[in-house]
């Protein structure tokens, strides 16, 4: 009996419903990690684009994986201050470009900051109620999990790349 037949005989002893469950979980993982996934939006930081009371969106993972993000894209990202959570923000600047920081709690001066290689600068559309790169700095691209395409709840519509939303930052 060859090695391959031996593997098959071991596999055949696993109950079929267990196999189906495991394969389904694996397929769901692969599709959501490397394809498209659904995500819930909570919190006021993206108002008025999202109300943030249980909005649902569809995002695709390929654009960030290939490094093709553009300023104005809405993205879903691992929360930089807590890796167990996700956030939704808009990309304001890519690596190499400069952002302007207006006076806040930490500094009374207007500052310019350059986004380092491999990072993006993200902000919420609702600037006064958003905790974002202005507080925790540029975010590594590896934390960006998806680009938001469509809002599916409470209404169905495309989510546009909007440079207007970011022009005054």
């Amino acid at each position: 009996m060859g090695a391959w037949e031996r593997v098959r005989s071991v596999m055949s002893q696993v109950p079929s419903h267990v196999k189906v469950a495991l394969h389904s979980m694996a397929i769901v993982y692969v599709v959501s990690r490397y394809g498209v996934f659904v995500s819930k939006v909570t919190g006021p930081s993206m108002y008025p684009t999202f109300v943030g009371r249980g909005d649902f969106v569809i995002a695709e993972a390929l654009t960030p994986l290939w490094g093709q993000l553009k300023p104005g894209d809405v993205v879903i990202c691992t929360r930089p201050v807590d890796p167990a959570e996700s956030i939704i923000k808009r990309v304001v600047a890519l690596e190499g470009s400069e952002v302007t920081l207006y006076p806040d709690r930490d500094s009374s001066e207007v500052r310019r900051q350059k986004v380092p290689p491999g990072h993006v600068w993200i902000q919420g559309d609702n600037l006064p109620h958003s905790l974002d790169s202005r507080v925790y700095g540029p975010v590594p691209l590896a934390l960006v999990r998806g680009r938001v395409l469509v809002q599916i709840w409470p209404r169905l519509r495309w989510v546009e790349n909007s440079v207007e939303e970011v022009r005054w930052h």
């Binding site: 391959w4 098959r8 495991l22 394969h23 979980m25 694996a26 397929i27 993982y29 692969v30 990690r33 490397y34 919190g43 930081s45 490094g67 691992t78 929360r79 930089p80 201050v81 807590d82 890796p83 167990a84 959570e85 380092p116 290689p117 491999g118 990072h119 109620h129 958003s130 905790l131 925790y136 975010v139 590594p140 691209l141 590896a142 934390l143």
Partner: protein, 175 residues
């Protein structure tokens, strides 16, 4: 043979899911973790990387040898030792000053400081979200086989803050 390829396609998602989120292997490049890894200069160590504790449980430990994504290169993985977690204070041997680690980040260094680009020399505190897995064993070459221990070099960690060991986050949720 057709059965073999059908099985291969059937098992491919399972393989990707398991190597992404449960366990995988990695060939270590470079001398930044010498002598813990690549202790024999003529051979690269093949190591076992356990991913459940970081990617599912978010249970990061000081002293772990960790695989993480390079902050400046999204496709590049690094192998470093976790020296300090969020809120800890660590000794920055380049700047010669104590450094407080911000929330959601950690401090990583190579065991071989002369050959390591790490928190001291390049990145500063790195995001915990970049953590991919924990190196638990060397599995090849045979004469280097064995487990890789949790170990913390002396006089680096100045203040240990245990907010980080009992779960992460808090304080900023809901914003």
């Amino acid at each position: 043979m057709r059965g073999f390829f059908r099985q291969l396609v059937w098992w491919l998602p399972a393989g990707i899911a398991i190597t992404d989120t449960v366990v995988s292997v990695l060939v270590v490049e470079g001398q930044s973790m010498y002598p813990t890894l690549n202790g024999d200069p003529n051979f690269s160590d093949l190591v076992l990387v356990e991913k459940v504790s970081y990617k599912w449980l978010h249970n990061y430990h000081r002293g772990d040898v960790a695989v993480l994504w390079a902050p400046d290169q999204p496709r590049q993985q690094l192998v470093k030792r976790i020296i300090a977690l969020e809120y800890d204070t660590v000794w920055d041997s380049e700047k010669k000053e104590p450094t407080k680690i911000p929330q959601g980040r950690c401090w990583v260094e190579g065991d071989n400081p002369e050959a390591s680009g790490d928190s001291r020399t390049m990145y500063g505190p790195v995001h915990l979200g970049l953590m991919e897995g924990r190196v638990t064993h060397i599995i090849w070459p045979p004469w280097r086989m064995g487990s890789v221990g949790r170990w913390l070099p002396a006089e680096k960690l100045i203040v240990q803050d245990d907010r980080s060991s009992g779960g992460l986050g808090g304080g900023l949720r809901g914003r």
